[in-house]
Amino acid sequence: MNYLLIDDDPIINLVHRKTILKFDEGAEVKEFLSPRTALDEILQNPKDVNGHVIFLDINMPDLNGF
């Protein structure tokens, strides 16, 4: 299972990663601190993110989750 964690707070990303790994040991977790970087990545390989679970903070600087 692939996970994308997008949050400007690295602690939240850390908490999420730890919690995910606690329940799903083979999980592949990718972290982004900037929503723009995350969006660029997703737009470059849109097919790659198919079936990915995304944890997206909505209130972020520069670009919000919506």
């Binding site: 707070d9 602690i11 850390l14 908490v15 999420h16």
Partner: protein
């Protein structure tokens, strides 16, 4: 001596012869005397005969008498003669010859004549001896008198004939004797017969004239009867109608043949003569009396006719009643006119009475006035005031300040200077009150235009005057207000003439002072700016005038070299039915505009600040919450079974602190949300909401608690769902948090809907709040006790929400018993 004897014989014979001769000559002489006397008498008789033949030919009585007195003196050879003829009802005729009338009056002679006639036999010529004459007043101057007096009853005349002679004055006095008596007798006989015949002739002539005249009269009368407008009826002594004239037929429609021959009684019945009139006429005809009767009848067409009937009985010279003449004067028109007049007069009186118009009339001829009742009441006059014709009374009641003026005005009409005057003046009525009268005095003139009197009317206008005064003072009042208004006001009338401009207006445009009462089209500005202003004003005025609606416009005035922005309004106003005014007012909005702009700017600024502040609060709260959540996350990661119990205890403390901080931040967020977000009204099931909220709190820990609903609790509420949710989250949260440690803890929800509002109660049997603190529980950041776990914002937020929802919240509580919160909300909150 024979011779002697012889001689003696002879002498005797001679002597005898001589005696005889003497005797014969005496006889001869005697004879001659007789002869002379006879000759003389013959002359007298001849004179008498001459008189007779002359007298017969005289043409008038006067001439006859003149001749007679002359002839008498001649025939009888006397000194004077006189004839007096006395006639009934006429002046006596007196003629004389030789009477000394310059010394003795005619009347004295006549008186003596009459006296003598009393004592001498009638119709016999007598000679009165002088001793009898001695007894008379004037006739005593004469020696002898011949007297004759006679009375002719048929002709109604008395004749006195007198001849007089006095011995001293007459040269050839001869005592009157038989001869004179005879001649006088003859003379008087002749005179009498001629005189009588003369008078008879005259009488006959007069009768002839009279007959002729009465014939003419009769012709005239019948002509009049026929031609007169009056109807004429002749009623015979048998009470049958003998004759009617044309007028009768013309007026009644009944012709001659219809009426003549009929009995008066039946004819009158047929003509429907009124009963009373009928009786009066019949009575008058029967009594043969002359009288006048008023009666009505009907014409053949049934029209009512009114008659003044004069009944004239006709009687012949012998006093025998022949007929009655009925003169019928048709007064129908007069009667109708009089009736009309009475009606008009009555109406006129009624009108004056109703309209409270006092009316008076003054007659110059009588120097007397008459007043109607209204005027009498107005002045409070009494009977005695009227007895003298009111004038003095009237004068005494006029207000002293008005008296001279009023009397002068009246005199103008009396002096024919004017035909009428109108005047207002004050009087004192009987209560001493001052009343204002409006009065009118009019001269009355006869057909030739001469003033015969005055008439007039007076109306009490006191109340009107008072109203007028009030109106005047009100007008003054409003004029003052308008004059001192800071707004500039002008008033135009229906002809677009400037009738008024207040002081502010005149201050702004002084040139208007000279333009008052001019038409706007003819007002010329003093410069280009005012010119343009007037041009615009004309447009606004005509627009307001045509549309009859308020016209608003902007205008710029230059005042003290400063530009002022004005708002102008042209307001058409109708006064009464006829007058139409347009009020133009200008209000200086320069300051207002500035303030308004400032206000808009500040408001925008404030809104911006507010929004920024809200945003700031939100951001701060949100940004404060994320690190807290991070802390909570890390704490969760650190929670492992193999933790040191002491560390576990610290963990728990950290968690509690983080939780309190988070809930405080959430409260702040909710508060900020309440003030930021607009109301959104929807219908929802509040019972379900309350149940869900209670379920969230159920696991708060501690002893179990029950949620109850009152039996008559409504389910649906129409309000802002999110806010109501926050409200009950706080309230139910409080109830749960501060419950007592008893087995039957409960929180009870109730809602009832009334006419205009919804009342919600939330009751618990918790710890309750001390009385002192109840007042403060809704304050910001107030926390009731040290063991309270909230931010102190919960109930403050509740109050803010209720305020936003236009409701009220109150709280009653008893320590150790419980708390009841009562909320009233409008049935449908208004969206702002």
């Amino acid at each position: 001596m024979p011779s002697n004897i012889q001689d003696s014989n002879l002498l005797r014979d001679y002597q005898e012869l001589q005696l005889r001769v003497m005797r014969s000559s005496h006889i001869e002489q005697q004879l001659r005397i007789v002869q002379d006397r006879l000759d003389h008498e013959l002359i007298l008789y001849k004179r008498l005969s001459a008189y007779s033949s002359k007298a017969v030919n005289t043409s008038s009585v006067d001439e006859l008498l003149r001749l007679s007195v002359e002839a008498m003196v001649d025939v009888l050879e006397i000194e004077s003669s006189a004839i007096l003829i006395c006639r009934e009802n006429k002046e006596p005729i007196f003629h004389h010859e030789g009477l000394p009338l310059s010394r003795v009056s005619e009347e004295d002679f006549c008186a003596d004549f009459r006296q003598i006639s009393q004592v001498v036999p009638r119709s016999k010529a007598v000679i009165l001896p002088s001793r009898k004459l001695q007894l008379m007043t004037v006739l005593q101057a004469y020696t002898d008198c011949l007297f004759y007096a006679t009375v002719d009853q048929k002709l109604g005349i008395g004749i006195y004939v007198v001849g007089l002679i006095s011995a001293e004055k007459s040269a050839f006095y001869e005592k009157l004797g038989e001869k004179h008596e005879t001649i006088f007798n003859l003379f008087t006989q002749q005179l009498r017969s001629i005189l009588t015949s003369r008078y008879q002739e005259e009488q006959i002539r007069q009768q002839l004239v009279r007959i002729e005249r009465s014939e003419q009269e009769l012709q005239k009368l019948s002509m009049i009867a026929r031609k007169t407008k009056n109807a004429v009826l002749v009623i015979g002594s048998d009470h049958r109608i003998e004759w009617v004239n044309d007028s009768f037929s013309r007026t009644t429609g009944y012709v001659f043949e219809d009426v003549v021959g009929g009995r008066l009684r039946e004819v009158m019945k047929k003509h429907e003569v009124d009963v009373e009139g009928r009786q009066q006429i019949l009575e008058a005809v029967r009594q043969q009396q002359s009288c006048e009767v008023y009666a009505t009848s009907r014409s053949i067409n049934g029209e009512e006719l009114c008659w003044n009937i004069e009944i004239i009985p006709v009687v012949n010279d012998a006093g025998k009643h022949l007929s009655n003449i009925l003169m019928l004067n048709d007064v129908t028109a007069e009667v109708r006119f009089k009736e009309d007049l009475l009606t008009i007069n009555y109406k006129y009186q009624l009108i004056s009475q109703e309209a409270k118009v006092g009316i008076w009339e003054y007659s110059i001829a009588d120097n007397y006035s008459q007043w109607n009742e209204v005027l009498i009441d107005m002045f409070g006059a009494h009977q005695k005031d009227g007895a003298t014709g009111y004038y003095e009374f009237w004068e005494s009641r006029i207000h002293p300040d008005d008296r001279e003026y009023v009397i002068n005005e009246r005199r103008k009409v009396l002096n024919n200077e004017v035909k009428s005057v109108r005047k207002n003046y004050r009087i004192y009525n009987s209560d001493g009150e001052i009343r204002h009268l409006q009065s009118h005095t009019i001269g009355q003139y006869d057909e030739e235009g001469r003033l015969i009197g005055l008439m007039g009317s007076s109306i009490d206008v006191t109340e009107l005057m008072q109203v007028d005064e009030r109106v005047q003072s009100l007008k003054q009042f409003y004029e003052n207000i308008v004059n001192h208004l800071p707004s500039n006001v002008m008033v135009f009338n229906g002809q677009h003439e400037l009738v008024y401009a207040n002081e502010s207006m005149l201050h702004a445009h002084p040139f208007l002072q000279q333009e008052l009462s001019k038409n706007i089209d003819s007002i010329i500005g003093i410069n280009n700016a005012t010119h343009a202003f007037l041009k615009r004003l004309r447009l606004h005025l005509s627009k307001a005038f045509v549309t009859q609606k308020v016209v608003s416009f902007n205008e710029v005035f230059i005042l003290n070299h400063h530009q002022r922005n004005m708002i102008g309004t042209a307001l058409p106003v109708g006064i009464g039915d006829s007058e139409l005014l347009t009020i133009v007012s200008f209000t200086d909005v320069t300051e207002l505009n500035r303030f308004q702009k400032e206000l808009v700017r500040k408001n925008t600024e404030l809104q911006k600040v507010n929004a920024e502040l809200d945003n700031f609060v939100y951001r701060v709260s949100h940004d404060l919450r994320s690190p807290l959540l991070s802390i909570e996350g890390i704490l969760g990661l650190m929670e492992d079974d193999d933790l040191d119990p002491e560390v576990r205890e610290y963990h728990k403390l950290i968690r509690t602190s983080v939780g309190r901080m988070d809930s405080s931040i959430k409260d702040i967020l909710e508060y900020s949300r309440n003030s930021r977000v607009e109301l959104k009204i929807e219908r929802f099931n509040i019972k379900k909401m309350v149940e869900a909220i209670f379920a969230d709190h159920k696991f708060y820990g501690g002893n179990p608690m029950e949620l109850q609903f009152t039996p008559e609790c409504d389910s649906y509420l129409e309000s802002d769902k999110t806010r109501i949710n926050t409200l009950f989250r706080n309230l139910i949260g409080n109830a749960v948090k501060y419950r007592r440690n008893v087995p039957d803890s409960f929180v009870r929800f109730g809602m009832s809907t009334h006419k205009k509002q919804v009342v919600i109660t939330l009751t618990d049997n918790g710890k309750g709040i001390e009385k002192m603190k109840i007042k403060k529980v809704f304050d910001m950041f107030y926390r009731g006790s040290s063991d309270s776990v909230g931010s102190g914002l919960g109930l403050y937020i509740c109050k803010e929400i209720i305020t936003k929802l236009q409701g009220k919240i109150s709280l009653t509580s008893e320590v150790g018993q419980g708390t009841m919160v009562t909320i009233t909300l409008p049935l449908k909150p208004k969206l702002k």
